[in-house]
C-alpha cells in the first residue's frame, strides 16, 4: 500500500479487538499509599486508566506520577464544576499531576468512592512530552463535590513505562481500583 507523502506511517486494522485490559492496581486499606502500574507494554498506541477511589484518611486528593519521576516535571490545568461554581485553573512546574477532590476520603459517607477516566495518547513517543486528559470527580456530599476535565503535562519525552497513583494521606481503601487499558494503533 502506498503511504501518502508526509505520512510517516499508517497502521491498518488488525483482526482482533483494539481495546485490551492490561492490569489493575488495587487498594487494601492498610499498606497501599501508592498504587503503581509498572512494566507497561510498549506495543499499544494509547492508554486509558479507569479508576475508582477512596482514602482511609480525610483527604480528597491523589497524585499521578509517570515513570517514577518526582521532580518538578509536571503541569496541570482544569475546567471545573463544583457546587454552583465553574472555574478554570492552572498549575505549572509541579512534582506530580494532582487530582484534587478526585478521591473520596474518610469524611465521606461510608461506601462512597470517586471515579474517572484518564486518557494518555501516543504514550510511547520519544519526541513528545506526555499530555494527559481526564474526566473525573465525585458527588458524595460531605466533602466538596466536583466534576472536572483535566489536562496534565509530563515534561519528558521518554516513553511511559509506569504510572503511579499516590494518595494524599492515609492509604487507598480496599476496593480502590486503577485499571489500565491499552488501545492498539
Amino acid at each position: 500500500m502506498l503511504i501518502p507523502l508526509g505520512i510517516l506511517a499508517t497502521a491498518g486494522a488488525g483482526g482482533g479487538g483494539a481495546y485490551e485490559w492490561i492490569a489493575t492496581a488495587a487498594g487494601d486499606g492498610t499498606t497501599t499509599s501508592t498504587l503503581t502500574l509498572s512494566s507497561i507494554p510498549s506495543d499499544y498506541k494509547h492508554l486509558q486508566v479507569r479508576y475508582f477511589s477512596r482514602s482511609t484518611a480525610n483527604t480528597g486528593t491523589f497524585s499521578m506520577r509517570i515513570n517514577g519521576v518526582t521532580t518538578s516535571s509536571y503541569a496541570r490545568h482544569e475546567l471545573i464544576g463544583s457546587a454552583s461554581t465553574t472555574s478554570s485553573t492552572n498549575s505549572s512546574s509541579q512534582t506530580s499531576i494532582q487530582y484534587l477532590l478526585g478521591t473520596a476520603g474518610s469524611g465521606a459517607p461510608g461506601q462512597s468512592y470517586r471515579g474517572g477516566v484518564i486518557d494518555i495518547v501516543d504514550y510511547t513517543s520519544t519526541s513528545k512530552n506526555k499530555t494527559v486528559r481526564a474526566l473525573y470527580g465525585g458527588a458524595d456530599n460531605t466533602q466538596t463535590t466536583k466534576v472536572a476535565l483535566l489536562s496534565g503535562l509530563f515534561l519528558d519525552t521518554t516513553a511511559i513505562t509506569s504510572l503511579s497513583f499516590i494518595v494524599g494521606s492515609g492509604f487507598f481503601e480496599g476496593d480502590t481500583r486503577f485499571a489500565l487499558y491499552g488501545m492498539r494503533g
Binding site: G17, A75, H77, T86, S87, S88, T89, N90, V121, R133
Partner: protein
C-alpha cells in the same frame, strides 16, 4: 470484540491536514484519538474537522477553560477543539477525543469532542463540544486541519465500535 482499529496516521513531516477516506460502513460508531501540535503561533489554537469534505451545515456549543476563565460559545464553524501551538512548551502536543455515533445512518450527525492542550504555564485549553453536522449522508471521510501545519509526529487513530448482544442482557 467491539472496538477495532480502522487506521492510525502519523505525520513524518509537517502537513496541513490528516485525512481518513473510504471509512468502512460496517461499524456503529467512530472514535478518533488525536495527539497533535500545530505551527500556528499561539498557545492553544483551534483544530477543525471536515466531514465528507464539507465544512458547512455545522452547529456547535462548547464549554471551555483557558487556565483562568470559563466561557461557553455557540458556533457554526467546523472547529472541534483546540490543540497545542507553537507558543506553548516545546515538544508538547494536545490530546483529544472525537465520538461520532451512528455515523453510517441516515439521520443528521451529532457528535461530541473533548480536547485539551498543555503548556507549562498559565494558559492551556480544556474544551468539551456538542456538535452537529446537519446532513443525512453517511460519513465516509474525516479531515483534521488547523490554520497552519500539523507538526511532524502528530497522530490520529480512528476506531470503529460495533454494538451487539451477549445473548443474556435484556433491553426494552
Amino acid at each position: 470484540m467491539t472496538m477495532r482499529l480502522i487506521e492510525t496516521k502519523t505525520l513524518g513531516a509537517d502537513a496541513a491536514s490528516i485525512e481518513f477516506t473510504s471509512i468502512p460502513q460496517t461499524f456503529t460508531d467512530l472514535v478518533a484519538l488525536v495527539s497533535a501540535r500545530t505551527t500556528v503561533a499561539s498557545v492553544a489554537p483551534v483544530i477543525t474537522m471536515t466531514i465528507n469534505g464539507v465544512s458547512t451545515d455545522r452547529t456547535a456549543r462548547r464549554l471551555a477553560g483557558n487556565g483562568s476563565t470559563v466561557e461557553s460559545v455557540s458556533t457554526t464553524d467546523s472547529i472541534i477543539g483546540s490543540i497545542t501551538g507553537a507558543n506553548a512548551t516545546a515538544n508538547t502536543f494536545g490530546n483529544g477525543l472525537v465520538y461520532l455515533p451512528n455515523y453510517s445512518g441516515n439521520s443528521a450527525k451529532s457528535f461530541s469532542t473533548d480536547f485539551v492542550t498543555e503548556n507549562n504555564g498559565t494558559e492551556s485549553n480544556q474544551r468539551i463540544y456538542a456538535a452537529l453536522w446537519n446532513s443525512t449522508a453517511a460519513i465516509t471521510s474525516l479531515t483534521f486541519s488547523q490554520n497552519g501545519n500539523f507538526v511532524v509526529g502528530s497522530t490520529v487513530s480512528l476506531y470503529g465500535i460495533t454494538k451487539g448482544s451477549d445473548g443474556s442482557t435484556t433491553v426494552s
